[in-house]
């Protein structure tokens, strides 16, 4: 099957055509935001990292920003640096430039402050947007797609309907030669034995076991019952009793195919097939991971109604909760009725979702895009702010 995408000079295919305005550090966010408000066709990536952190966290930040800047949905990138941050804006610029896309770096302290940086940045963004506007969509094979998969604000209908339907769509994309990536390692706890059975190699099995143990230890190290944080109080109100129950319903969204590799946060997968990325479950940090991996579309299932998208990757909201679908229609793209002990309706729902994925990949606006909901993602880091 095919969709209409933007083929970039390096061969990668985008589903959107933005000029990316990316902060290297949290201190640049106000300038990034100001430039993007002035020029149509820009998407921002603002975050809370980039300075006064330990080296492992600075490395995660650098890697993630490079991967985001390389994303094929960004025709060109304007990098906004303060000038004294811990991460190297030059390293980030060099990494993004490997794609061959047009990149400009502005440094607020060198330019003489906010006003000059906004003027200079706006001038560059305007020229980039004019150039990007010349790009045309062309027919692309669905094997070019990498789909991110997420569930958030889950209730029992997530495991009952929305996640199984998403698992079907995931299997279909992989059968068609495409790729999918999911994560939320916390929500493997209690279901990791099922994922381990699907590992393509013993090494992948070892990595799955390793990331789950690491995530559970982080929770245990806090000296409290994880319940309330995971599952959240909202999950519990929705009928999910334990992390094991949440996990068993959650992993269904990753379908049934072999798991080819486990990636660290911010890495870009190589090859095709089904991948895991080690992430927490919280939305602002999670959504950045599939975007950094290069996912051109993200399917996000929700029970109670998580509204947010991502600045430059379309996020399709799917619910199996009829009440949520009616109450929060402005945030939900697709409703999947809970299956009453019949797999057939889930298969049909998976096919419906697949058509929606191709339509959105071809330019159909998602509810989160229409409402411009999702401008405040973040990067997942581990250590203290120092």
């Amino acid at each position: 099957m095919t969709f209409m995408g933007f083929r970039r000079n390096n061969g990668a295919v985008g589903t959107r055509n933005f000029v990316g305005i990316i902060s290297t550090v949290s201190c640049a966010n106000d300038i990034t935001w100001a430039i993007a408000q002035k020029v149509t066709g820009c998407a921002t990536f603002m975050h809370g990292q980039g300075c006064c952190q330990t080296k492992p966290d600075l490395d995660i930040t650098t890697r993630t920003l490079i991967s985001l800047g390389q994303h094929p949905n960004l025709a060109a990138v304007l990098l906004v640096s303060l000038g004294c941050e811990s991460v190297s804006a030059d390293d980030i610029a060099a990494g993004i430039s490997q794609t061959g896309k047009h990149l400009v770096k502005i440094v607020i302290q060198k330019l003489g402050g906010a006003t000059a940086a906004i003027v200079e940045g706006t001038r560059h963004a305007e020229a980039m947007a004019a150039e990007a506007a010349k790009a045309k969509r062309e027919t692309c094979d669905d094997s070019e797609l990498l789909m991110g998969i997420k569930c958030g604000a889950s209730d029992t209908t997530s495991g009952l309907a929305a996640n199984p339907a998403t698992g079907q769509a995931c299997d279909m994309l992989i059968d068609n030669g495409g790729s999918c990536i999911f994560g939320e390692t916390t929500e493997f706890i209690g279901a990791e034995h099922i994922l381990i059975r699907r590992a393509a190699t013993p090494e992948v099995a070892r990595k799955i076991k390793g990331i789950v143990a690491r995530m559970e230890q982080r929770a245990i190290a806090m000296g409290a019952d994880m319940r309330g944080g995971q599952p959240t109080s909202g999950n519990i109100a929705g009928g999910l009793t334990t992390i094991e129950e949440k996990s068993l319903g959650a992993i269904v969204k990753g379908g049934t195919k072999p798991i080819q590799e486990v990636y660290e946060y911010g890495e870009r997968p190589l090859g095709k097939g089904l991948f895991i990325v080690d992430t927490p479950g919280r939305e602002p940090e999670f959504l950045t991971a599939p975007a950094a991996a290069g996912a051109q579309v993200i399917v996000f299932t929700t029970g109670l109604g998580a509204p947010q998208g991502f600045p430059f990757v379309p996020v399709i909201k799917v619910t199996g909760n009829p009440g949520t679908y009616q109450r929060l229609a402005e945030h939900i793209d697709l409703f999947v009725a809970p299956a009453d002990n019949a797999g057939d309706s889930i298969t049909r729902a998976g096919q419906r979702l697949y058509q929606e994925i191709l339509a959105v990949a071809s330019g159909k606006q998602t509810k989160a895009e229409i409402l411009n909901y999702g401008n405040f993602p973040n990067i997942f880091t581990l250590g203290p702010v120092i």
Partner: protein, 105 residues
């Protein structure tokens, strides 16, 4: 897109499960018939069970596993009767328990 066809009041995912999930808000004392590929069960509810929440298909002894999707989702923290509402008041997780660290972990 929401179908008005008669839906079951509850669903059982796996033949090994000892809990079912309500597909509607169910009342205390209500009789719930659940049809699966392998059996039909009739359960009389002890307490009310909201949409999406669980009730017990059998008696579950204190400390025994609570099973959904054919997998253990937690352990009973009290004796649970058939038809009881099953949730955080009578089931605990065995995972991520920093509060028990140094004890069992």
């Amino acid at each position: 897109m929401i179908s008005n066809k008669l839906m079951q009041k509850a669903v059982i995912f796996n033949s090994n499960d000892n809990v079912a999930t309500a597909l509607a808000d169910l009342k205390a004392g209500e009789g719930v018939e659940i049809n699966t590929a392998y059996k039909t069960v009739l359960i009389t509810l002890v307490g009310a069970v909201p949409f999406g929440h669980k009730f017990s298909l059998t008696g579950i002894v204190f400390g025994s596993p609570v099973i959904k999707y054919g997998e253990v989702i937690g352990l009973a923290t009290t004796d649970i009767m058939q038809g009881d509402y099953v949730h955080v008041h009578n089931v605990a997780s065995a995972r991520g328990r920093g509060d028990l660290a140094g004890g069992e972990k």
